[in-house]
């Protein structure tokens, strides 16, 4: 970037603004490995005791079952969203379907539309469908709420693949399906990967839907588990343990984010490019 200006005033301002975030995340990490005397800010001893919940279910209850549930939840979500978006996005981008304009505008409105406002309606739908309080129900709901976004993103990626490549495939005698599978799909692999990551992370972080649509079922996802642990009325209430559980819960997301930062960026900002 251009070097003609002094940088330190900016850094200073940025730092001040970022301080709350920095402190929160720093202590999130530090507190899980240390104890702090009451009333003090700085930790005074190193300890691993806050991580004992991993092996000792008596502290906060078994953590591995919710973890497994969350993996299942996020993975199913990812599979549904990616496979449906990959096909529907292609169809909407490239095929001359009946009602194409109508469906496209529908998807766009749904994508822009804040889906949380539908939660009451969704709640009633699940009640009628008998899927209330079931993992399947929550997965289906979450997946459908994500689909407009996913389809829209994938359509964007498909739109960016030159038509000529597709035409060439057709000229070479391949059916549209073969063209899609062997020629177009490899071109949008980055998009698929980003979407898959995003769906997984989003599912992993989901709290509202399981909480509202399946509050008392046998399975419990990590977000709900974490919320139970953090209940100030519970006997095990302890910020440090909570932070450890929280960090444990967030670690996969953080890891994915760090590993695939660039890919995720184009999703976080994408699908919304005007």
């Amino acid at each position: 970037m251009t070097r003609n200006f002094a940088a330190w005033p900016i850094i200073l301002l940025l730092t001040v603004l970022s301080l709350p975030l920095f402190i929160m995340y720093l202590f999130l990490l530090v507190d899980t490995f240390s104890n702090t005397a009451p009333g003090s800010l700085l930790p005074n001893e190193f300890t691993l005791e806050h991580w004992r919940f991993l092996i000792d279910p008596t502290i906060t209850g078994d953590v591995w079952k919710p973890t497994l549930t969350t993996v299942i939840f996020s993975a199913s979500l990812m599979i549904i969203v990616v496979s449906v978006s990959a096909t529907a996005g292609y169809a909407l981008s490239r095929l001359a379907l009946p009602f194409r304009r109508f469906v496209l505008s529908g998807i766009m409105v749904m994508h822009a539309f804040p889906s949380v406002t539908l939660i009451i309606g969704v709640f009633l739908v699940l009640q009628f469908a008998g899927l209330y309080n079931s993992l399947t129900g929550v997965i289906l709901v979450k997946a459908s709420l994500m689909l407009p976004f996913g389809i829209w993103i994938m359509k964007g990626f498909y739109d960016a693949v030159p038509w000529e490549i597709e035409m060439a495939g057709v000229q070479d005698g391949a059916s549209r399906f073969t063209v899609w599978r062997r020629i177009i799909l490899p071109q949008v692999k980055p998009g698929l990967l980003s979407l898959a990551l995003f769906a997984f992370i989003d599912g992993w972080s989901e709290y509202m839907l399981p909480r509202i649509l399946a509050p008392s079922s046998d399975f419990e996802v990590l977000s709900m588990y974490l919320n139970t642990v953090s209940d100030p009325n519970s006997s095990t209430y302890n910020f440090n343990i909570f932070k450890s559980v929280g960090l444990f819960y967030t670690l996969p997301v953080l890891a994915l984010f760090v590993l695939f930062q660039n890919r995720l960026m184009n999703i976080f900002g994408g699908g919304t490019k005007g």
Partner: protein, 420 residues
């Protein structure tokens, strides 16, 4: 497609349908039945239904009819006794149990034990009190049967009032309009959306521009730091804020050391609660602005910046005259997009202040959600909640269509080029 229909279209329809009902936990979400209860009679009396009708409804009568005879048979009453009743008392009716029982005692084959006599008498008892009727027709028939010369409209009134299930109503919207709370919440919502949005856009812009000028290492650090709130699961994020602002939390301790007022900032005062709410959401949203604005910044031809420096522009002038004009559309975009999502979001507020203290930080979406799905009295008012949600859905729909128009997404709908 089926899923989308199921979880978008259907909810929208259901929300709008239920907005016009008084559905709640008490009424259930499937249909109900018709019962006249003691409570209902009392409230009907308060509503001015005439005393005679109320009395009559509260009374039992005894009618000797075929249905009663069969019932008596089923109850195990002596067959000879039943035959006698049928022969001698058929089609007569009695208004009190004593009169009827006196009459029964005159029959030759009457049972010796008083209990058996009462069982026999009970078989002929007719009362609407606490009897469940599946349909309105049955209820009305029973009422007609019970009441001699009822006043005009009384039967309909009682039948309607006796319904236990949900009914159609526009009360929800009327209530919303007349409750002063509604306007307070709308005020809160506007306040929240405007301030958070301002925070998002300004901080997002600031971050984008500053990280743009920083060397890569610095800008990398800050963009990752600011992205963290966005990827941190909301439950953890909310509790981190609790740790930061709660009693005995971080800010609390610092304030104490500095001799400043230390209290639970998240719930302790209205001003601090609002600050927390706006910061909590603002930090999440700022990264959205940052990403989009950074993208737009990178698209500015760098020669323009160099040229402006050669022309002697200060940094501020460079931002003002070169960068900001390029940011018009991204800013408009972030604004409209965030307006939409802020209007409907309540997750963070729910998990932090939960609308408190009191309901000072309650926004519309949170109130709708609480009314319908999450309140402590246990009576979830789906109908009222749906009505509130419907207003949001309508606003959301209109805004999203407006903003799709605004950004001319039409261009993304170009026709497929392969025509076979």
């Amino acid at each position: 497609m089926v899923l989308l229909l199921g979880f978008f279209f259907l909810p929208v329809v259901l929300t709008s349908v239920f907005a016009f009902t008084n559905m709640s936990t008490a009424t259930g979400i499937s249909g109900g039945s018709y019962v006249v209860t003691g409570n209902l009679l009392r409230s009907l009396k308060d509503e001015g239904l005439d005393a005679k009708t109320i009395d009559a409804l509260g009374q039992s009568s005894y009618v000797i009819d075929q249905a009663g005879l069969e019932k008596a048979h089923a109850a195990g009453v002596d067959a000879r006794f039943i035959t006698e009743i049928a022969e001698r008392l058929k089609d007569r009716s009695f208004t009190s149990s004593t009169a009827f029982e006196r009459e029964l005692k005159t029959l030759p084959s009457r049972p010796t034990r008083v209990r058996d006599l009462k069982i026999a008498a009970g078989a002929f008892e007719q009362s609407v009190l606490n009897v469940r009727y599946a349909s309105r027709g049955e209820m009305e028939a029973a009422l007609t049967h019970m009441l001699e010369n009822p006043p005009e409209g009384a039967i309909e009134k009682v039948a309607t009032a006796s319904y236990t299930g949900w009914t159609w109503t526009t009360e929800n919207f009327k209530n919303l309009v007349i409750t002063p709370d509604t306007w307070r919440i709308i005020g809160n919502t506007v306040f929240y959306v405007v301030l958070t949005l301002a925070f998002n856009v300004l901080v997002g812009l600031f971050l984008a521009i500053t990280t743009f000028y920083l060397p890569p290492a610095g800008s990398g650090f800050f963009s990752v730091l600011w992205l963290l709130p966005r990827i941190t699961p909301v439950v953890l994020y909310a509790v981190m804020w609790k740790w930061f602002t709660w009693e005995d939390g971080f800010v609390f301790n610092i304030a104490q050391d500095l001799g400043l007022p230390a209290f639970n900032y998240m719930k302790g005062s209205v001003a601090s609660a609002w600050t927390v709410v706006i910061l909590v959401n603002g930090f999440v949203g700022a990264s959205f602005g940052m990403i989009l604005f950074s993208g737009a910044l990178k698209a500015i031809p760098v020669q323009q910046l160099w040229a402006s420096e050669v022309d002697g522009a200060s940094r501020w002038q460079q931002i003002r005259y070169i960068i900001l004009p390029h940011m018009r559309w991204p800013i408009l975009f972030v604004t409209s997009y965030q307006t939409l999502s802020l209007l409907s979001s309540y997750e963070q507020i729910w998990l932090t202040t939960n609308g408190g203290p009191g309901s000072t930080t309650t926004v519309w979406a949170l109130e709708a959600f609480k009314t319908a799905l999450n309140n402590y009295t246990g009576n979830l008012q789906y109908g009222l909640g749906a009505a509130m949600a419907l207003i949001l859905v309508a606003v959301g729909l209109i805004l999203s269509i407006v903003y799709l128009r605004l950004f001319r997404f039409d261009e993304m709908m170009s026709k497929p080029k392969i025509e076979f």
